[in-house]
């Protein structure tokens, strides 16, 4: 029978191929990311549904419809073939090689959990959704845990080459990530490993908002795995291999709601009682069956989903979240339009953190208070937002950072400059500095004569809040110039163009 299990083979080949793509996506910087996101994140049900809510229906945001449709046809093939977090868990399960058992559905818990997530998203907090949404969780693990390790190996190899005088390859600077983010991501990673060790892919049915939602569709799927009760001897071979724990050997039932369509069980049955085929052609009792109370619950669920979509604009004017940092407001990436809009759509997948060439986009735990966990902000102590770059807006899978053309970005004020003269070198040490003005792309920071020197002055109207001035300001211990985030991004004025000083130099002036 083994060689007959073509479905499993297809699934494995597909998942290996997808894993490869995900590795490239999460580890590459810049060039591939924006294309990779378009292709790979497109059919990520969680993020693309969010993008649909953000940007409305469009080609870029309809991937989730395909996933829903596929689920309705073939069951949760997304979970075993396309979900990066599912692939990670499959890897764990494969490595542990444990005997598995049937797990009770815990419907009460999981549906309540889903409702809580939906309600929290509705009330403007991304903490739960961002934490458990599988694509974002995988992004965090790749960017925060896997990438630094790989980069260290890469950089030591390049060091070796450079030592030999070969400069054709270059080192990539390591992320200096937030220790809290690192710790929590590590904890999450270990946690999922432990969960996999004991319960295989329990996460997908108990905690994953995408998995639980897809389960509601897959219980009606046209194709599914069925047990022919007459043939079944109750040997339990299938139950021992079921990663979702959805095969109940004692009652000879498979729960189509929780089956992740890995097809591992198909070739395990010694009497070939397991088949994959049309739901209606099999025995009616194969499914879980819906009773009245469940139906009511489902109606409640779908109506809350509808409400989620419908009520989104209503929450736009919501009060700003509590901010813990010293500056009043954190700076959100250009294209995000403002803090509250950003925090309501960002799941913290860290693709923008990965794509940012200057590493200025930094994840943090609580910069946005209770609005979200892991959501990144621009940390100008690490770098500044490059004038000629809009990569983050091109990689965001949820639309939290909307695509923004360079010309528009150059006039988008994400924050505003503040000058603290009592910290400035020109005023305190009476020596020249001017680093801030040097780096300012719009000359919103300019120099004026001050006691035989030149001291900085600011023109906030043309400032775009890129943070170059703050980043390069050399004063210690406190910066003399800093950027305060704009809670809602504004449009900056175009810098005035001075008339060219034409200088016709006929001879040599010496």
């Amino acid at each position: 029978m083994k060689d007959r299990n073509i479905l499993k083979r297809i699934r494995i080949i597909l998942s290996l191929f997808m894993s490869l793509l995900f590795i490239v996506l999460f580890l590459d910087i810049g060039s591939f990311s924006s294309l990779g996101v378009k292709v790979l994140a497109w059919f990520q049900a969680g993020t693309s549904f969010l993008k649909f809510l953000t940007l409305g229906i469009g080609f870029g945001s309809c991937g989730f419809i395909l996933v829903f449709f596929l689920t309705f046809l073939f069951g949760r093939v997304y979970c075993s073939g396309f979900c990066p977090f599912g692939l990670l868990q499959d890897l764990f399960v494969f490595l542990f090689k444990r005997k598995l058992k049937y797990i009770k559905p815990y419907n009460g818990f999981r549906y309540l959990f889903l409702v809580i997530i939906i309600v929290s998203v509705l009330s403007g907090s991304m903490i739960l959704f961002g934490l458990f949404e599988p694509f974002s969780a995988s992004g965090r693990i790749s960017v925060n845990l896997v990438k630094p390790v790989l980069l260290s190996v890469h950089n030591s190899f390049i060091s070796f080459l450079e030592y030999r005088g070969i400069y054709d390859f270059d080192k990539i600077s390591l992320h200096l990530l937030d220790p809290g983010v690192l710790f929590l991501t590590f904890l999450f990673f270990i946690g999922i490993g432990i969960l996999c060790f004991f319960f295989s892919r329990l996460y997908c049915n108990l905690l994953c908002p995408v998995g639980i939602s897809l389960g509601l569709i897959s219980r009606y799927s046209l194709f599914r795995i069925k047990i022919e009760k007459e043939r079944c001897t109750g040997c339990g071979a299938c139950e021992k291999i079921c990663k979702a724990g959805c095969i109940d050997n004692r009652n000879r039932k498979i729960d189509p709601d929780r089956c992740v369509a890995c097809f591992n069980c198909l070739d395990r049955c010694p009497v070939a009682a397991l088949t994959y085929g049309r739901a209606s052609s099999g025995l009616k009792t194969a499914g879980n069956g819906l009773d009245a109370s469940r139906r009511g619950f489902l109606i409640f669920l779908f109506s809350s989903l509808l409400l989620l979509f419908k009520s989104f604009p209503l929450w736009a004017g919501q009060a700003l979240p509590f901010l813990k940092i010293r500056k009043k407001y954190p700076v959100t990436p250009p294209g995000s339009q403002g803090i509250s809009r950003f925090t309501r759509h960002c799941t913290g997948c860290h693709l923008c953190v990965n794509a940012c060439p200057t590493r200025v986009i930094t994840p943090s735990l609580f910069s946005y208070g209770t609005s979200g966990l892991f959501q990144p902000h621009l940390d100008y102590s690490r770098g500044f937002c490059e004038y000629e770059c809009n990569l983050c807006s091109r990689v965001c899978p949820t639309g939290a950072i909307q695509p923004i053309p360079l010309e528009k970005k150059k006039q988008t004020q994400i924050g505003n400059v503040n000058l603290v003269k009592q910290n400035c070198i020109v005023y305190t040490s009476r020596t020249e500095c001017g680093a801030c003005s040097e780096h300012c792309p719009t000359k919103a920071v300019f120099l004026v004569p001050y006691k035989g020197l030149f001291g900085p002055e600011i023109n906030p109207q043309i400032c775009i809040g890129c943070g170059a001035c703050e980043n390069v300001c050399p004063t210690l211990p406190y910066k003399a110039i800093y950027v305060e985030g704009n809670p809602v991004h504004r449009r900056s004025l175009k810098p005035a163009e001075k008339k060219k000083r034409t200088k016709i130099n006929t001879g040599f002036p010496f």
Partner: protein, 307 residues
């Protein structure tokens, strides 16, 4: 005794490159007197051509690249690649000029030519949009990265008043010949950026300079590793909003180039081309007072070439 002192200093800070430099320097001493054209100029000023042609004309006056680069030597070329802008905006050195310099180095027998700068904007984009990467690689130069602290090594700055130590890029430390190729432009706090100011791009911690009297640090560092050749690119000159510039209206076409071994002399001449009084620029004054170069252009043998 200036040259001997110069050689001594070179010898102390890099043991490996020291020996070759000593030999190279000694040869220069002889070539100066045995030159067929008679006394070699201290400074060459060229006008009126494309940047790369002006360079060729200027080098001819200086006895060709062969008097700077010997067979088998490694050359570090340091243009200004500070900003992620196109060549037309004049914030970076003319890319074709850099390409031509690389070409002439290889023709003179160089083993390897390395081009780099510690950029202000994201280095990869800056190397690319300045077009310097393109023209340098076309001539088979190696574009070295300079974006991580690991590429820099601690060097003592001789007799530094404010700057006593600096971390210098290893490409400079391991090369036999150092060619400095600044672009002439306006600079907010330093007034003018030319040869001496361009050396800020071979060090790691520029913040220290800004924090501790910028002009003094620029002058201090001029004693550390004098370039063997300075080529000041004044083809397109940014007259305002420097050093980054905001738009093309900041830039004027001047089609000028200044070539000299002496940074102070080159910067003095460059200031005059730019239209400011050299004595008004503090770092030039300090460097001249420390006898790191000649500020009095009347004392120099200047060759003026118009194409």
């Amino acid at each position: 005794m200036d040259r001997r002192e110069f050689l001594k200093k070179l010898f102390t800070y890099t043991a490996t490159a020291g020996t070759t430099l000593l030999l190279g320097g000694a040869e220069k001493l002889f070539s100066r007197d045995t030159n067929a054209r008679g006394l070699q100029p201290d400074l060459v000023a060229v006008k009126g051509g494309e940047a790369e042609d002006m360079f060729d004309a200027g080098m001819k006056a200086l006895g060709g690249m062969g008097s700077f680069v010997k067979k088998g030597q490694t050359v570090a070329v340091k243009p200004n690649i500070g900003w992620d802008v196109s060549p037309e905006l004049g914030a970076n050195t003319n890319p074709k000029l850099v390409g031509r310099i690389v070409k002439r180095c290889y023709e003179a027998g160089a083993k390897k030519v390395i081009v780099f700068d510690h950029t202000c904007n994201y280095w990869k984009n800056t190397y690319k949009s300045s077009a310097i990467e393109y023209y340098a690689k076309q001539e088979k130069a190696q574009m070295a990265p300079a974006h991580l602290e690991g590429y820099y090594q601690n060097v003592t700055v001789p007799d530094g008043k404010e700057l006593k130590q600096a971390k210098v890029h290893e490409a400079i430390l391991s090369s036999d010949v150092f060619i400095n190729v600044p672009v002439l432009k306006d600079h907010g706090s330093a007034r003018l950026t030319s040869s001496m100011k361009n050396l800020m791009g071979i060090v790691w911690d520029r913040g220290y300079w800004h924090r501790n009297d910028l002009h003094q640090c620029i002058a201090d560092f001029a004693a550390c590793r004098k370039p063997d050749l300075n080529v000041v690119d004044a083809y397109r000159v940014m007259l305002g909003n420097g050093p980054r510039g905001v738009s093309a209206s900041d830039v004027t076409l001047m089609k000028t180039q200044i070539i000299s071994r002496d940074m102070v002399a080159a910067d003095t001449a460059a200031a005059k081309v730019f239209g400011v009084e050299p004595s008004g620029i503090e770092y030039i004054r300090i460097a001249a007072a420390r006898k790191l170069g000649e500020m009095d252009l009347n004392k120099l043998n200047i060759e003026r070439i118009t194409l």
